[in-house]
C-alpha cells in the first residue's frame, strides 16, 4: 500500500493508491452485512431449501436424469447463480444508493479517493457478500443432494467473476436509480425472469424450437451454462462462449462505470 499522508501539517501528498480509504468503505459495507446477517443469509438458505423440497424431492423424484445428472443435483448451479446474480445486483445497488439517498455520499466524493478505488470498495464488498452467499447455498444444497464439483478452481473463479460483473451492474443501477422502486426494478423484473428462463432449472436443449433459439439471446443462459459446466462437465453452450459472454458483460459494465465517474452522472452536478 503506497498510501502516505503524514499527520499534522507535514502531509506527504503522494497518494498513489488510497488503500485505507478502500478498506474503510469495504469494512463499512461488510459491517452492514453483519448487522443484517440473519436476513442476508437466512432468506436465501430457506428459499433454497424450499426449492429442493419442491423441485428436488416432489417433482425431481418423478423426473429422469439430465446429461446423467439427477434433477436435484442439476438445479444446484442454477440456484446458486439465481441468488448470486440477484444478490450482487441488490447489494451493490443498495450500497451506493443508500449514501446517495441519505446524502452521506458527500463524504466519499470529497475524499482523496479515486473513482476506481470507490468502485473497488463498493463492488468488492458486494461481490464478497454474494460469493459468501453462493457458498452457503452450495453447502445447503449438499445437505439435500449429492453435489460433485468437477472443476473446483473454475467454479470458484467463475463465481468470483459473475459476482464482480453483476456487482458492477448493481453499482450502475444504484447510481441510476432515483428511488427504491427503481432499485428493485432490474433485479426483480429483469434478472429474475431471465434467470428462470435461462436454464437455471432445465437444459435449454429440452426446449422446442423456436424457444431454444430464442433462449440463445438470453445472456443468463451463458452464465448458468458455464457455471454448470464447472460442476458436471456438461453445458448448454460451449464453455469458451460462456466465458467470453461474461467477460463482455463485465467490460461493458466497467465502461459504463467509467463513464459515470467521467461525467459525474447522477453523482455530481
Amino acid at each position: 500500500m503506497s498510501t502516505v499522508i503524514e499527520r499534522g501539517g507535514a502531509r506527504n501528498e503522494t497518494l498513489g493508491f488510497n488503500g485505507r480509504g478502500v478498506l474503510a468503505i469495504y469494512r463499512f459495507e461488510m459491517a452492514r452485512f453483519r448487522r443484517t446477517l440473519w436476513q442476508s443469509l437466512a432468506t436465501p438458505v430457506i428459499t433454497t431449501a424450499l426449492y429442493f423440497v419442491v423441485f428436488g424431492s416432489a417433482i425431481g423424484s418423478r423426473m429422469g436424469t439430465i446429461d446423467g445428472v439427477t434433477y436435484g443435483a442439476f438445479i444446484v448451479p442454477g440456484l446458486i447463480m439465481l441468488s448470486v446474480l440477484t444478490e450482487s445486483l441488490s447489494n451493490a445497488s443498495f450500497g451506493i444508493h443508500m449514501p446517495k439517498f441519505t446524502g452521506t455520499i458527500y463524504e466519499v466524493l470529497s475524499a482523496p479517493i479515486s473513482a476506481f478505488e470507490i468502485v473497488l470498495a463498493y463492488v468488492g464488498a458486494a461481490a464478497t457478500k454474494s460469493v459468501i452467499l453462493g457458498l452457503v447455498i452450495l453447502a445447503t444444497a449438499s445437505l439435500f443432494v449429492p453435489v460433485h464439483v468437477l472443476h473446483p478452481v473454475w467454479m470458484v473463479a467463475y463465481l468470483l467473476l459473475v459476482a464482480a460483473a453483476f456487482s458492477l451492474a448493481g453499482f450502475i443501477i444504484g447510481v441510476w436509480a432515483k428511488g427504491f422502486e427503481e432499485l428493485q426494478f432490474v433485479p426483480m423484473l429483469v434478472v429474475t425472469p431471465l434467470t428462470f428462463l435461462g436454464g437455471a432449472f432445465y437444459s435449454i436443449d429440452m426446449l422446442p424450437e423456436p424457444w431454444h433459439t430464442v433462449s440463445l439471446f438470453n445472456p443468463i443462459v451463458y452464465i448458468v451454462s458455464g457455471f454448470r459446466w464447472s460442476f458436471y462437465g456438461t453445458a448448454d453452450v460451449g464453455v469458451g462462449v460462456s466465458l467470453a459472454a461474461l467477460l463482455v458483460f463485465f467490460l461493458v459494465a466497467l465502461a459504463l462505470v467509467w463513464w459515470i465517474f467521467r461525467t459525474g452522472y447522477r453523482l455530481k452536478s
Binding site: A24, T102, E107, S114
Partner: protein, 326 residues
C-alpha cells in the same frame, strides 16, 4: 484545542511573513445543465488561518462555491488551488487539506459516533489513531456519546458529529456550510467558541451563514456573493468602517418647529415631534464632524438634555449591499 489538532496548519503561519493563500480561486464559473449560471467569474483568495465568512441571500451561489472547492460539483471554467494543489489535477492532495461540514445533517444513522469518525479518518487515507479521535471527540463534548448510535443523538449533537468527522483527518481548511442553522442559542454560542478555538489552532475556517451577527461576531474577513458574483471582499472592521454609517441623536429640551438654516450643512432630520435631531454620517466624515455640530447647536442656543450614537450593524451593511445592486 489540543496541540495535535493544531499541527495541521500552524507551521505555514510561522514559516513566512507573507504566506501564500491557502485557497486561490480564479475565474470560477459554474453553469448547471439546466442553464442556471450559479457562479460568474469568481476570483477569491483565502488567507491562512483566517475566519472567512461568505454571506449572500438564498441561491446566491455560496454552496456551489464550497461544493466546487470540495470536489462535489464540477466547475465549468476557472481554477482552484488548495494549499497550492489544483483541485482537478491534484485532487488527492487538495482534498486531503479540506474538511467539510455540510449544511444538512447527513449521517449514517446506524453507526456509532466512534465508528463514523474513525471511518472518516481512514477514508482520507490516514492510519487509525484512537488517541487523536479521542481528542477530537472530547473537544466537541462527544466523548460520553462515543458508543451511542447517531440516530439516538439530538440535532445539535449530530452537528457536532459532522464537525468531528470533518476534523478526523486533521484538515488545514474547514468549510462550515450554515453551521448553526436550526440550532438553539446556547449551542450556537458553543459553536462559535469552537470555531474560535479551531482558528487559534491554525485551521483556516470558511463559513457560510444566514445569521449576519454570526459573521459579525467571528469573521476576520467577509465576502458577499449575490447572483453568482462576489460583490465585496473586505476585512470585517474595514467593511464596517467604510460601508457602515453612524448616527447621532440629540435629544432636545424643547421641540423645534424646523431645522435651523445655520445647521443646513449637516444632513439632519427632525424626529419625534421636533424633540430629536438625528445626524447620519459615515465613519470617514472629516468636515461635518459631530463636535462641530454640537458647537453650532450650542452657539444657536438650542438646549439638549441627552445624546446617543449608534453604528450600522453588519446586517444593515449587508442589506444595503445586496439591495443596491438590485
Amino acid at each position: 484545542m489540543s496541540d495535535r489538532m493544531a499541527l495541521a496548519a500552524r507551521q505555514p503561519l510561522d514559516a513566512a511573513p507573507a504566506p501564500a493563500p491557502i485557497i486561490s480561486i480564479s475565474g470560477l464559473t459554474k453553469t448547471y445543465a439546466s442553464g442556471l449560471t450559479a457562479l460568474k467569474d469568481v476570483s477569491l483568495e483565502i488567507r491562512r488561518g483566517e475566519i472567512f465568512a461568505l454571506l449572500g441571500p438564498n441561491g446566491a451561489g455560496k454552496t456551489t462555491l464550497i461544493s466546487i472547492v470540495c470536489g462535489l460539483v464540477t466547475p465549468s471554467t476557472g481554477t482552484v488551488l488548495v494549499d497550492g494543489h489544483d483541485i482537478v489535477r491534484e485532487y488527492r492532495a487538495a482534498r486531503a487539506c479540506i474538511g467539510l461540514v455540510p449544511q444538512e445533517l447527513h449521517t449514517d444513522m446506524f453507526e456509532t459516533v466512534w465508528d463514523t469518525v474513525s471511518f472518516s479518518r481512514s477514508l482520507f487515507g490516514l492510519a487509525r489513531d484512537p488517541a487523536y479521535i479521542e481528542e477530537v471527540l472530547k473537544s466537541l463534548s462527544l466523548w460520553e456519546k462515543r458508543k451511542d448510535k447517531i440516530m439516538t443523538l439530538s440535532g445539535g449533537m449530530k452537528r457536532r458529529v459532522l464537525i468531528a468527522k470533518a476534523l478526523a483527518h486533521e484538515p488545514k481548511v474547514l468549510f462550515l456550510d450554515e453551521p448553526t442553522a436550526g440550532v438553539d442559542v446556547e449551542l450556537r454560542r458553543d459553536m462559535w467558541a469552537l470555531v474560535r478555538r479551531l482558528r487559534e489552532s491554525g485551521v483556516t475556517i470558511i463559513l457560510t451563514t444566514h445569521y449576519i451577527d454570526e459573521a459579525e461576531e467571528m469573521a476576520d474577513r467577509i465576502g458577499v456573493i449575490r447572483k453568482g458574483q462576489l460583490i465585496v471582499v473586505e476585512e470585517k472592521t474595514q467593511l464596517m468602517k467604510t460601508l457602515g454609517k453612524k448616527q447621532l441623536t440629540v435629544h432636545l429640551q424643547a421641540p423645534l418647529a424646523a431645522i435651523p438654516a445655520a445647521l443646513g450643512d449637516w444632513k439632519l432630520v427632525l424626529n419625534n415631534g421636533g424633540t430629536e435631531l438625528e445626524y447620519t454620517f459615515d465613519a470617514n466624515e472629516e468636515h461635518m464632524t459631530v463636535p462641530a455640530l454640537l458647537r453650532r447647536i450650542v452657539d444657536l442656543g438650542i438646549e439638549f438634555k441627552d445624546l446617543n450614537t449608534r453604528q450600522s450593524t453588519l446586517e444593515e451593511i449587508f442589506v444595503n449591499l445586496v439591495s443596491e445592486r438590485r
